[in-house]
């Protein structure tokens, strides 16, 4: 079992792992309120990636990853749009807001 320290690395590797074997991969989330700990695990029963945290900011990142996995699992592992559309929306909004001042 590998604990990954970087969130981005965990997210990217877990999505790759799922895409490689969508039939046997699963995404597990364990939450302990008494300890204030959140552990995420993605495994295909051969390789295992884990991420451990006690930070609220990681919970927000985890929600985005949840949405990605929901879409991947329902529509299929070949869906690229799910990640791209989520990121594109967040990129499009700041560009609209920028440089609206008239001189």
């Amino acid at each position: 079992m590998v604990y990954i320290s970087s969130w981005d690395e965990f997210a990217e590797r877990s999505i790759q792992l799922f895409r490689a074997d969508p039939q046997s991969s699963r995404y597990v989330m364990k939450y302990r309120h008494c300890d204030g700990k959140l552990v995420l695990k993605v495994t295909d029963n051969r390789e295992c990636l884990k991420f451990k945290t006690d930070q609220a900011q990681d919970a927000r990142k985890m929600e985005k990853l949840n949405n990605i996995f929901f879409t991947l699992m329902a529509r299929g592992p070949d869906v690229d749009i799910s990640e791209v559309s989520g990121k594109e929306q967040s990129e499009a909004q700041p560009t609209k807001k920028g440089r609206g001042r008239k001189q």
């Binding site: 969508p22 699963r26 995404y27 302990r32 309120h33 329902a74």
Partner: protein, 176 residues
């Protein structure tokens, strides 16, 4: 009942006798019965309600496991038949939740793993957004034990400085 057991001398060494741990009455109560291997398949809203109560129950003690897995909900034999017949298999997102504590008597599906209390729900693409939103809300509401960022302390100090600057600015403008 503490005490070493007399090893059988007529048997090879790998047949060692091991002391079975003495279980208290409380531990025996917690032991899973056959019903413990059951898993209840629910509709989305009851599943979310039960998940909420699961989080509420485990605030003092215990964990909540939520598992996401892609599944067609069909046996491997049937899946092979469908692929050979040329039928497309519809996959769904299987969501399981457990708190590992109490047993449940309703039998909908059997699982080989030792899962004590668990609920499942199948999702199709249509119910997605609604379920995702509700699920995210539940998680946000109950994951309150996680630590907040420490930046807030630094921000408070920064806000105090900016407020002082704002107080200085207006009197200058009014004079000009």
């Amino acid at each position: 009942m503490v005490g070493s057991l007399a090893q059988p001398t007529h048997l090879p060494p790998y047949f060692k006798l091991r002391k079975v741990s003495s279980k208290s009455a409380r531990e025996r109560e917690r032991e899973p019965s056959l019903f413990a291997f059951a898993m209840v398949l629910l509709q989305p809203d009851p599943f979310l309600n039960e998940l909420t109560s699961m989080y509420e129950r485990t605030t003092e003690r215990g964990s909540v496991w939520v598992t996401l897995k892609r599944s067609s909900m069909k046996s491997k034999a049937k899946r092979n038949k469908m692929t050979s017949a040329g039928e497309t298999i519809e996959y769904r997102c299987l969501v399981r939740a457990t708190d590992g504590k109490k047993t449940i008597s309703t039998v909908m599906e059997c699982q080989s793993k030792l899962v004590l209390l668990s609920f499942e729900y199948k999702l199709s693409a249509k119910d997605h957004l609604r379920f995702q939103a509700s699920y995210a809300t539940i998680l946000k509401a109950h994951m309150s034990a996680l630590k907040k960022r420490e930046r807030r302390d630094k921000k408070k100090a920064g806000d105090g400085q900016t407020k002082q600057e704002d107080l200085k600015k207006p009197p200058k403008k009014s004079s000009s």
